[in-house]
Symmetry: C2
Subunit: 471 residues, 2 copies
Amino acid sequence: MNPLVKAVEYAVRGPILLKAGEIEMELQRGIKKPFTEVIKANIGDAHAMGQQPITFLRQVVALCTYPNLLDSPSFPEDAKNRARRILKACGGNSLGAYSASQGVNCIREDVAAYIERRDGGVPADPDNIYLTTGASDGISTILKILVSGGGKSRTGVLIPIPQYPLYSAVISELDAIQVNYYLDEENYWALDVNELRRAVTEAKEYCNPKVLCIINPGNPTGQVQSRKCIEEVIHFAWEEKLFLLADEVYQDNVYPKDCQFHSFKKVLYEMGPEYSSNVELASFHSTSKGYMGECGYRGGYMEVINLHPEIKGQLVKMLSVRLCPPVSGQAAMDIVVNPPVPGEESFEQFNREKEFVLSNLAKKAKLTEDLFNQVPGIHCNPLQGAMYAFPRIFIPTKAIETAKAHKMAPDMFYCMKLLEETGICVVPGSGFGQREGTYHLRMTILPPVEKLKIVLEKVKDFHIKFLEKYA
Amino acid sequence: MNPLVKAVEYAVRGPILLKAGEIEMELQRGIKKPFTEVIKANIGDAHAMGQQPITFLRQVVALCTYPNLLDSPSFPEDAKNRARRILKACGGNSLGAYSASQGVNCIREDVAAYIERRDGGVPADPDNIYLTTGASDGISTILKILVSGGGKSRTGVLIPIPQYPLYSAVISELDAIQVNYYLDEENYWALDVNELRRAVTEAKEYCNPKVLCIINPGNPTGQVQSRKCIEEVIHFAWEEKLFLLADEVYQDNVYPKDCQFHSFKKVLYEMGPEYSSNVELASFHSTSKGYMGECGYRGGYMEVINLHPEIKGQLVKMLSVRLCPPVSGQAAMDIVVNPPVPGEESFEQFNREKEFVLSNLAKKAKLTEDLFNQVPGIHCNPLQGAMYAFPRIFIPTKAIETAKAHKMAPDMFYCMKLLEETGICVVPGSGFGQREGTYHLRMTILPPVEKLKIVLEKVKDFHIKFLEKYA
């Protein structure tokens, strides 16, 4: 067996989810538990938590799937127009034909137009857009191309700690060197460029740090980076000739009024040609998050800036081997970047649905922060963005010792107990990385408000009992 | 840049397709050519060639996409029942939720039931079924897990020559050792177990041959393996403790009356417990080929037999990192394995559509063989299965020299000339591998009959002129 594969870890669907599956089976077999259902707050899976799909997106994809519906009076004209345009760009006018390896042309054009609007007119070239099978696929592919060298010249990839474990998994699989930089928990999980500098300086002793991964808004940490921070990071990447990977899949998920999403691309261009013509950047987006939550479609795109033409050629070749991203996911991506606009028949309903999801998420972000911070021994930074809470949990020494006796990380022990006693499935902080001696958990805020309140109350009760038990 | 990535080649979407794209652009810009359109016979992309989707499959996927349609009287009840069942098995009853990493449970159950029916009752366990993002994804993932060792103990992967270039691409990316075994062109491209033995024996000098890849029906060669041949291969794999990868994506594409598809799984079980409890096997299927040709959905499955539980765990982990295969592709796969049955409302139309596609393919297979064999300097084996012709083409010495002067493989030179002069895009045999000094091309037989005749006439005229020019 491949030792690199063996070394891969992926906590979001790791042992805790296997255990959750076992418990669900036991419940089905009628085994009595102190709860009646398992609540999977381990993964950002909006629809599984009851969020409804955006009607317009589904109408367009259904029309593309079964074009007979183009004659049906029950579909709005704007949806039909979108579907006709997508089908016209597909081989044989069918979602069943392979698309170009880079994705359907007109969808890449729509992505470029979306980026230009988002970034206040900074130009975007459809040739730089690659549609992907979710953001994960894009991130893995670009990392695969960039990694090289052996020994001390092996590529080092800088990732935030805490991170989303796709990064550590891919780095491990590629036998690249993971270089950690720590986000500042005391300062709302901000990225401090001095910490980046420390990480790069130390890494140069044992590898060739070449790639810098940023997750903004943060997963699992939920911070939204300030414009100033992004400028500093770009300047640092320019100085150190680092390739920037900007994971921006939560760009629509920003909640407090005083926070705003700034794309790395926009800031890069606003910093002037010295930066915008030199710093290599790939940024990622997806159908899975935002207000649409279409995880199952595996739609996504990446935009690359200043990529060497030879690397671009390699990228297309590697995408070609897998033929193309799922075309229905590409169609879904098109609606994310090209939604109804004011004046179109579907605009009002679309906007109502979108605002409903986003305002609820904002409410739940605040609720979660507030409720966690009422619990003794739990501290939760504000959830400025994304869809997770990553509170710090105090674990008593006796519990840490018990965990170690079970050969478990203390926060894994905590999360397992939480699952067994309440049916709530969350992921231990150790799956994302955390400063030595600190413990966390990641929980999604996706359950509906009333259910989320119950979940948080249950976590509170569990935590208080846990503290008592291991006092 | 990763040198392993640089070494990857994928001819089906290689330089010839880039050139075809350039020519299409020139045609669009009004540049005059001796033809008015580029015909992309380089890839098995049925819908792009005008094949119509199977109505029932699209109805079910549309119903799953936009469940409001479940109330519409214009959809048949059997399609609605399929859609309701799939949705019930999805998180939040939505195609937009992530599925389990291994795929939606009820779809895996349907796959297992399909395999049992196909294999005359040989049992299939849903736990052994993994839904994938097309067959390519399954093949890459399993190879990634199996490859290990360094130097002389590096894993050797046996592949047929000619092969489908996904295999060489993945082997190259994984830095595994490609071990070629040659199919016997003089004997309808049959697989000779003596040739397998030669290949393994020689390979043991420089690597650890551990995996044996079989493509049946053959791509690009179109042969259908006899039951006897499969038995011999399984016996050989058992003797040599080889892991069998059976690429069976063309299992529905078998044309002559005296040919029959035998799955490796079925033959393995029929050979008795000594084999069926020991030989490790993974077999692959897809929504992309057969009579449905739904390439764009990226649906597929693999069934694994005798996989060690630890490797199974690793497999689920690696699939988890990518979260799940596209759920709409999983739904499409469900209809491939669970189509309407006699007595159901949609059966008649489904069956008519299926037979139309398959009988046309059979007709085109014969037509292609016959027409190619009328051309002096072209020899084409019978197309027993799949959807390609792989004729041997005689290239005169003068043309070989000209090609070499252009630093091109002689058959690449030939195919480039064919593309430039006729607009027909096919792939040179060198992209699939062929015996030294022989030349071939791969062409799909997917264009509609009348168009295919024109294509074949054009190839004939081109070939005759080519022979004259380089005589």
